[in-house]
Amino acid sequence: MATPVAAKKDASQDRQKRMIADHYGRLSRTHLTGEKNCYTYVPGNLTELLRTFDLLPVLPEINALQSGMRGKTREYIAAAEKEGHSEDVCAYVKSDIGMISSGNVGPTGERLPPPDLLLLSYTGCFTFLKWFELLREKYKCPIVMLHVPYQGEGAITPSMRKYVVDQLKEKVIPILEEVSGKKYDEDRLREHLVRSAAAEDDLVAVLQSAKHRPSPIDAYFGGVYYIGPMFTAFRGTQDAVEYYKELRSEVEARMAQGKGPITPEGEIVEKYRVVVEGPPAWTHFRELWKMFGDEGAVCVASTYTKVGGTYDFGFRHDPAHPLETLADYCMGCYTNINLPGRVDMISRYVEEYAADGFLINSVKSCKSFSAGQLMILREVEKRTGRPGGFIESDLVDARYFSAANIKNRLESYFQMIAQKRAATGVAVGAS
């Protein structure tokens, strides 16, 4: 067996690792410290609001994907299926259920506390609704549902915003007060939102650095690390502000030096620029990244990095309108945008990031992403004239990852781009 290559880390990565370790450490000690926590989801997370009540967020999808990366989901999913959960449904849910049944040990190897509150921010994913019904059965704890309307007509209307704000005021905030024992302090929320907006500016600068050639970042595989603090427990914190400032300066330095993205295997020399739609296969994250890297393929934009918030088209949390901005944030998350909107977004990325084409990683678990992707493929090809590729896998169910199939498809896809370039007389890496 080959010795794994040690991944090279930037200072910002070390900082993020420390932030995560501290957070999970705090969670593991809540039975001693008395700190309260709130389980909620990445899309439509209300981290600034939770922090206003000093509640620690716990995100079940993050636990599931971390379990996938640590090779734990095979046993967790098997445990859930033994309990009667269908093989047809989302593997995040089954991983989470299996993890709970196996002692609820989190990504850092420490035990996670049971929820003091389940905040179901019902944003962009039907499964969320059932997932928290399942957790409520397990934990018998307080729960509150925030229904975030879908952008079915491609826009946020005043009625949609009012509906969300009313729920925040009349339902969510009162239960946060009750669980935390603290009064709602809107000024404190505004302070969090100011910090959110500052971090969002830097995150967008990082993501948009990929417009540069060569791109200093990989906006999909690398991108999932960049969005980590923003999408999870840290938006609105000073830690997040510092992290994104540091990350931005590292990326801008790489851009100034004309360097490509850092990967676990080293720096990629950019041959192909692609946009990626869909979540990664967490169980084979590094293997999949290497397949791209081996081809010289750099992901210059991705939709997955917008599931916890879409910032690159101008949205920022606005401290002047704290609850309205939270409503707009929720409704703007990627999977809450209708299919025509998703096609627009991907097409725009292909053009603005001068991509050679786009790839869809269609995951079996997530129908919110996957249903309609074959049409997205055709529509984006039609609009941009760039070729689309399609691979299939799963979020955390390793049974659906066929390395040989995926590698074969990727190689064929990049060969096709190379041949197209040859036919038009454009050198590889200079489209």
């Binding site: 309990e83 009667g84 959960h85 269908s86 047809d88 449904v89 989302c90 849910v93 179901l120 019902y122 994913c125 039907f126 499964t127 609704l129 059932k130 997932w131 019904e133 399942l134 409520r136 059965e137 549902m145 229904h147 309307p149 879908y150 079915g152 007509e153 009625s159 949609m160 009012k162 509906y163 009313d166 729920q167 009349e170 339902k171 209708n338 299919l339 025509p340 909107g341 998703r342 096609v343 269609s362 079996k364 129908k367 919110s368 996957s370 249903a371 309609g372 992707q373 074959l374 049409m375 529509e379 299939e392």
Partner: protein
């Protein structure tokens, strides 16, 4: 009434719903010049459409009657079957008489189908119906009322009569009559299941999706009169079961017949639920739009597509008790998130109350029933022989 009259009625209903080219809808449009608007399961505010002179048309896939060729090109293998047949029907021209389509918030697949429809049929009205998951009057019902008003405005722009409150009140009253008639048949089946075989009731219910409500009311009445008068229908020693999970993609009729032949009286089910989604009458007093919106938030059935604020599975326990069933068939379509994610919680509730259950999956074009027949038959036998429920 004659047995042949009854057979003709059921055969007529069967032919109506299996006419996927919507002959009855085409004829209605020629006769009235009105708009016809399709809707996917499981709920749509049909009263509002009716009040505007619009014919609501329920689309529930194409069962095992249609070979899917182009529809499969739109979906990966792990997506359920109903969107494939729905797209196939649209692409082969069957849905041409429809001036639009409504996609209620059932799951992410149907939600995303609304976006696909927007891209594929740009000249048609296409709406995602974001029914509220907050059931408070001032929040959820108010939001839903606004959505209905917005839908009505769009219909009016396309030539429907403007929404008139008195007309809406009358439409609510007609649908109240319809709900009572459907509930009456369900009660009759519960009390005397040998008189109302589900293999007959099902086509009668499906026919109601492609015809005006007034005509369907007459059909329901005629069917009831005929089965009550049919002295040849005698009780048999079969197991009484509640069937759940089949609220969106429908099983082929052959599967329903198979279950009955295997020894089951289906005494409650989830088929064509739009006819029974609202419990009781919608108020015809006060603001009818308000009443229609509140019917959903306050008077609708518990459902896997809705946020459940109560104890999970309690409604199913109640249904089992109310129908005098001896067990539950969990009969869900493959890859159906609402049904399959809900199932473990419903199963736990059955176990807590010692209610026997069995589970299997299907797709709308399932053609092999032998395994299901054996499973259901064994289950029916076990209920008959050993159940203490």
């Amino acid at each position: 009434m004659t047995t042949s009259g009854l057979k003709d009625l059921v055969a007529g209903a069967d032919a109506l719903y299996r006419d996927y080219r919507l002959g009855s809808v085409r004829a209605w449009k020629e006769r009235t010049g009105g708009l016809a608007i399709g809707h996917m399961p499981v709920y749509a505010p049909r009263e509002a459409l009716h009040a505007m002179g619009v014919l609501p048309v329920g689309i529930m896939g194409a069962s095992d009657d249609l070979e899917i060729i182009r529809g499969d090109a739109y979906y990966q293998s792990y997506i359920c079957h109903i969107p494939r047949s729905t797209i196939e029907l649209a692409l082969n021209g069957s849905l041409d008489p429809l001036d639009g389509m409504l996609f209620p918030a059932i799951c992410d697949v149907i939600r995303n189908l609304s976006g696909m429809w927007k891209m594929m049929f740009k000249d048609k009205l296409v709406r995602y119906l974001d029914v509220p998951q907050d059931f408070d009057r001032a929040r959820g019902a108010a939001f839903w009322r606004g959505e209905i008003v917005s839908l009505c405005a769009e219909l009016a722009e396309r030539g429907a009569k403007p929404l008139d409150m008195e007309a809406l009140r009358r439409s609510i009253a007609v649908y109240n009559d319809h709900r009572r008639a459907v509930r009456g048949l369900y009660d009759l089946r519960k009390d005397e299941p040998w008189k109302v075989p589900t293999a007959e009731l099902y086509p009668i219910l499906r026919a109601g999706l492609v015809m005006p409500v007034e005509e369907h009311l007459a059909m329901l009445g005629a069917y009831r009169t005929m089965v009550e008068a049919d002295a040849t229908r005698r009780p048999m020693d079969l197991a009484r079961v509640v069937l759940v999970g089949s609220f969106c993609e429908q099983p082929p009729l052959g599967l329903i017949k198979t279950l009955e032949r295997s020894g089951c009286y289906i005494v409650d089910d989830d088929f064509v639920q739009i006819h029974r989604f609202i419990l009781g009458d919608v108020s015809t007093e006060g603001d009818p739009l308000d009443a229609l919106a509140r019917a959903f938030t306050e008077h609708a059935i518990e459902h896997p597509t809705k946020w459940c604020e109560k104890e999970k599975g309690a409604d199913l326990v109640d249904r089992v008790k109310a129908s005098g069933a001896g067990g539950v068939l969990f009969c869900a379509p493959s890859f159906c998130d609402p049904a399959l994610l809900d199932q473990p919680m419903a199963v736990a509730a059955m176990d807590r109350h010692s209610i026997p259950w069995t589970a299997f999956k299907y797709s709308e074009n399932t053609g092999q029933f032998q395994v299901i027949r054996e499973q259901a038959g064994t289950f029916a036998d076990s209920i008959q022989l050993w159940s203490t429920v």
